[in-house]
Symmetry: C2
Subunit: 191 residues, 2 copies
């Protein structure tokens, strides 16, 4: 990552997403991505294991942020509040890269295998959050339930954010989605 | 499905799960499953497209039951109540096949690809339930949020059911999981 390759990663990402959008994920090669970015194939592999990692390489940072937020929350904080705060932090991170997120989402939506990979990514994030909750003393079942609920809130807010036309920011939409869930569960009449 | 093959499907399922448990899913062939069941390979393929379908062939019936319950609920019923009722119905169906469900779960837990397939199955069920809610007039975002919340309740209850030592039945555990979610969301203090 010397000076002679300013933001190689960013250029590779931009080139990859442009090509995925133009000709489809499956019809794009690493050679083409590198060429479009004005870099070598070798440089590509310094940043990404394969072309799919351009789309999914961010999962590690997302997991660290989620787990770090849960781990760092005050001891007596309500577990669902903690999880929502973690997803708000994740949403703020994604808000910084809205253009990337939108293009990435369009590529994923167009490809069954990538959609499945995204579903699995979210399930792994939920499992990591549930583990973090258990470390805080939350029971086995409640930890999964709360983490999965966090993912449900996040997914609904993400769908709203992707289609957002009024420039409302992702963390705000997380809050709205959470409020909606609270209203929905309070409204349910089952004894 | 003539008289000369009494419960061929059931025999194939039993044989397959026994073999998957003994030697692993990946090390079991269709020929072996058919032989263990005392049937031909050709009979196997009359019931299942491949060995994976022994584990996932029930998804269609589950989806029909979930969607049918949502579609058939009273017009003014609370959407989350409707979804929970649908998962209670699904849980009652699975309760009838508890032995099969336990063995199946053990096989899936031991194989990454199968675990991923199970995650995707649940996501597809959630999408089908969300579509059914939209047909009832529930908004785009709320439908996904409520359906995903239903899956969260179902998954937590399933994990509890699989580990259940007091013979509590799956539908009851759905109810308990729902009550827990209500308590969790009511307890969250975020404004």
């Amino acid at each position: 990552m010397g000076r002679w390759e300013p933001d190689s990663r960013g250029r590779l990402e931009t080139a990859a997403l442009a090509l995925f959008g133009e000709r489809g994920f499956e019809n794009t090669t690493v050679v083409e991505i590198a060429a479009r970015a004005g870099l070598t194939e070798r440089t590509f592999f310094r940043y990404f294991a394969d072309k799919r990692e351009v789309l999914f390489g961010g999962a590690g940072a997302l997991r660290e942020l989620l787990v770090g937020t849960v781990d760092g929350a005050p001891e007596n904080a309500d577990p669902l509040d903690v999880v929502v705060a973690a997803f708000e932090a994740a949403a703020a991170m994604l808000q910084e890269r809205r253009e990337f997120a939108l293009r990435r989402q369009a590529v994923i939506a167009a490809n069954t295998e990538l959609r499945e990979r995204e579903v699995i990514k979210l399930a792994l994030l939920a499992a990591a959050v549930a583990d973090a909750l258990r470390r805080r003393g939350v029971s086995e079942t409640a930890a999964s339930l709360i983490a999965d609920t966090g993912i449900a809130i996040f997914s609904a807010a993400f769908a709203a954010w992707i289609n957002e036309t009024e420039h409302r920011e992702f963390p705000l939409l997380i809050r709205e989605s959470f409020d909606e869930l609270r209203a929905v569960t309070a409204g349910a009449t089952r004894p």
